[in-house]
């Protein structure tokens, strides 16, 4: 069988939405992408492809860290086999293209769950490692990389796959290594024990920043999962809700991966994310959270962990221009003043922000070289396309985040400057030394060249 590849995505950001498969989740920026599907983990790889290769999973990275730089994407999603489950020790070995959703569905009936899951179940095991993802349980569990026991990595300069274990320098470079150290064939992770497919869900509201920081430490420590939805108001006001969860047992039919209930069928017009529409949505969502606050509720684990997965192609609400997510973390101590100040700046500039989310990151250190989480407050903000004004503002915010020792999440980034990147991730040169010479991403070229 020949290994021809083909262009899937047209060249401009505006048109990238025609094939959502080969654009990133934020759909900005868009570049032509060649795709090579990897059907078996040991199939030949197009290492000598002009422009290099880049491993690619389900494309849930928002910016250009999942886009090739004129080269070829190696789509590993067909390599999704679950190879071994040790139900006593709680260890799962799977191919890199297996989704965390598929892993969760296979292990839940045995009383296990992936140790860390992000807001969507549609991420691959390889992507979870490469971005060292975090979840609502960062306080107690740390990031995904803390639970990886071994990685089998294919490199262009090695004839056979390399087996990596914690402690190896190449292992540390691969955790959070945004796919640059090689193509992950398979990996073994340690699962988390759960009583069943249920979550006891609670909510608590807050009405000011002091209120938020006053409650946050206790709320985060007392519950396994915590995430905070909030609406920043004018003049530094804020209101929001903690959504807290603790694993619980539940009926067996909650084990199965739920089907979706809808799809955004086409790109919505800009009015869908206009200021009033966003304010209305944020208000309705917060009211729903506040209503839930009254008493603890037993809910299925799937929608609790992945509230947006019910609707497919939800990124289309931002229209064809796509959107930017700004996801940053401010270290504990500085967060009490800097997080409110940054949000006040955004409000002062009249920028529209959709679905703002906060999380408290805990002290568990990741083995990864370029890991994002550090102890402090993490904030994720979705910005519909707002032109150059937005880019200038985010550059300004980058400097403030770096000044207080924080950083911005690579998996969400489409625009940070090389200078900002090097301040956020001072160990980047170590990753560059471990990079496979045949692997290149648009992000890496942008921030290191």
């Amino acid at each position: 069988m020949t290994d021809l590849t083909h262009t899937l995505s047209p060249p401009t950001a505006r048109d990238a939405g025609i094939d959502a498969d080969a654009s990133s989740w934020g759909r900005y920026p868009g570049y032509p992408q060649q795709r090579h599907r990897l059907w078996w983990p040991n199939d030949p790889l197009p290492w000598s492809s002009r422009g290099g290769v880049l491993p690619r999973g389900l494309g849930r990275s928002y910016g250009d860290s999942c886009l090739a730089h004129g080269g070829t994407l190696v789509d590993v999603t067909p390599c999704a086999r679950l190879l071994e489950l040790d139900t006593d020790a709680g260890l799962m070995t799977a191919e890199a293209g297996a989704s965390l959703g598929a892993i969760a569905a296979a292990v839940l009936p045995h009383g296990w769950y992936p140790p860390v899951v992000p807001g969507t179940r549609h991420v691959t095991l390889g992507g979870a490692i490469a971005n060292d993802i975090h979840g609502k349980n960062h306080w107690s569990a740390g990031s995904f990389g803390c639970h990886v026991r071994s990685i089998e990595l294919r490199r262009s300069d090695r004839p056979a796959p390399v087996r990596l274990a914690p402690g190896d320098p190449m292992f540390a470079a691969t955790i959070g290594g945004i796919g640059l150290t090689g193509i992950i064939a398979s990996a073994t992770i340690a699962l988390a024990r759960v009583p069943g497919p249920g979550i006891v869900s609670r909510a608590r509201t807050f009405g000011s920043w002091d209120d938020y920081f006053g409650q946050s430490e206790e709320a985060t420590r007392a519950h396994a999962h915590s995430v905070e939805w909030f609406a920043p108001g004018a003049r530094g006001t804020v209101r929001g809700a903690f959504k807290l969860g603790d694993p619980a047992s539940g009926p067996a039919h909650w084990n199965a991966e739920p089907s979706t209930w809808g799809v955004v069928p086409f790109d919505l017009p800009a009015a869908a994310t206009s200021g009033p529409a966003i304010a209305a949505f944020n208000a309705v969502y917060l009211r729903a959270c506040a209503r839930a606050a009254r008493r603890p509720q037993l809910v299925p684990v799937w929608p609790f962990m992945h509230p947006l997965d019910g609707c497919r192609r939800v990124n289309r609400i931002y229209g064809r221009r796509g959107f930017l997510q700004y996801h940053f973390v401010v270290p504990r101590g500085a967060d009490r003043t800097e997080v409110p100040a940054i949000l006040a700046t955004i409000a002062d500039r009249g920028m529209r922000v959709f679905l703002p989310v906060m999380k408290q990151f805990g002290p568990v250190a990741s083995p990864g070289l370029l890991s994002f989480p550090l102890p402090g407050t993490s904030v994720a903000l979705d910005f519909p396309w707002q032109g150059d004004r937005l880019f200038r503002l985010l550059d300004e915010l980058d400097a403030r985040v770096a000044d207080c020792g924080g950083r911005v999440y690579i998996a969400k980034d489409a625009r940070m400057s090389g200078q900002a990147f090097r301040r956020f991730y001072p160990r980047w040169e170590e990753l560059e030394r471990h990079r496979d010479p045949a692997i290149r991403s648009h992000f890496w070229q942008r921030v290191t060249r």
Binding site: D3, R37, R81, L82, L83, A106
Partner: protein
């Protein structure tokens, strides 16, 4: 009919469509016999089925290129659990039409693997299922079999032959409680089609897996995958030859 407790054999178990169906049957708790040519790949597919919840998985290595061996292939799969409730025949080779036109040995081999071996294995299994008093045989055909065109008639004619064979076998088996389900996928992203440029109407192995499992559970006679191919091929079959032969392949 769900897969719980069913004895299911899949021939050509490492094909992309077969893997998707196997995963679903495994999650339903079926007992599987997986038959394929490549032992290494078969091991990965079998491991995946076990983790997804299969009650038991038996691996058998076999080559589908020689029709004369099909009675043995059927017997080996049958004997694992003294019978089979469901058999899926899912291997395939997308013949190189240009080569088939100049290399008669290749043409004969392609027709054998894509049609003769299918018919022989289906017949061997049907005989056993009739004696057993029931069962379902799923055959992976193709929309290509509905209308042969210049670009791929070696492959299409084999699938057309399979279509006719399935029809006859279905009629012969029905009185004995044995069902024959012909699945006709449109072009699907898979290793078999990796050298082709995907178009708008292409399906995914995952959707095909859902459709295969559902069609076999419902004992459908013919299932197009995705379902819109039924309408497309209805129109394509109505085209007069004089017009159809001018369409690009």
């Amino acid at each position: 009919m769900t897969g719980t407790g069913l004895r299911i054999a899949v021939f050509g178990a490492t094909s992309a469509l077969a893997q998707a169906a196997i995963r679903r049957w495994a999650a339903q708790g079926a007992s599987l016999v997986l038959v394929a040519r490549d032992a290494g790949r078969l091991e990965a597919v079998a491991a995946d089925a076990l983790v997804h919840g299969a009650a038991a998985v038996e691996r058998q290595v076999a080559d589908f290129s020689a029709a004369a061996r099909m009675p043995d292939v059927a017997a080996n799969a049958w004997n694992v659990r003294e019978g089979l409730d469901v058999a899926l025949l899912a291997w395939g080779s997308l013949s190189d039409q240009a080569r088939a036109q100049r290399d008669v040995g290749y043409l004969a081999a392609e027709l054998e693997v894509n049609f003769v071996a299918f018919a022989c294995l289906a017949e061997a299994l049907a005989g056993r299922m009739r004696a057993q008093g029931g069962g379902t045989i799923g055959l992976i055909g193709s929309v290509a079999g509905d209308r042969a065109r210049a670009g791929h008639y070696a492959y299409a004619s084999a699938k057309a032959g399979l279509d006719a064979y399935a029809r006859g076998l279905r009629a012969a088996c029905r009185p004995h409680g044995v069902h024959v389900v012909l699945i006709k996928p449109g072009p699907t992203a898979s290793p078999m089609t990796a050298h082709l440029r995907p178009g708008l109407l292409w399906g995914t192995p995952e959707a095909a897996g859902d459709a295969i499992v559902a069609a076999i559970a419902a004992r459908r006679a013919v299932r197009y995958v995705p379902a819109y191919w039924r309408a497309i091929m209805f129109v394509v079959r109505l085209l007069p030859d004089a017009l159809a032969s001018r369409l690009k392949a």
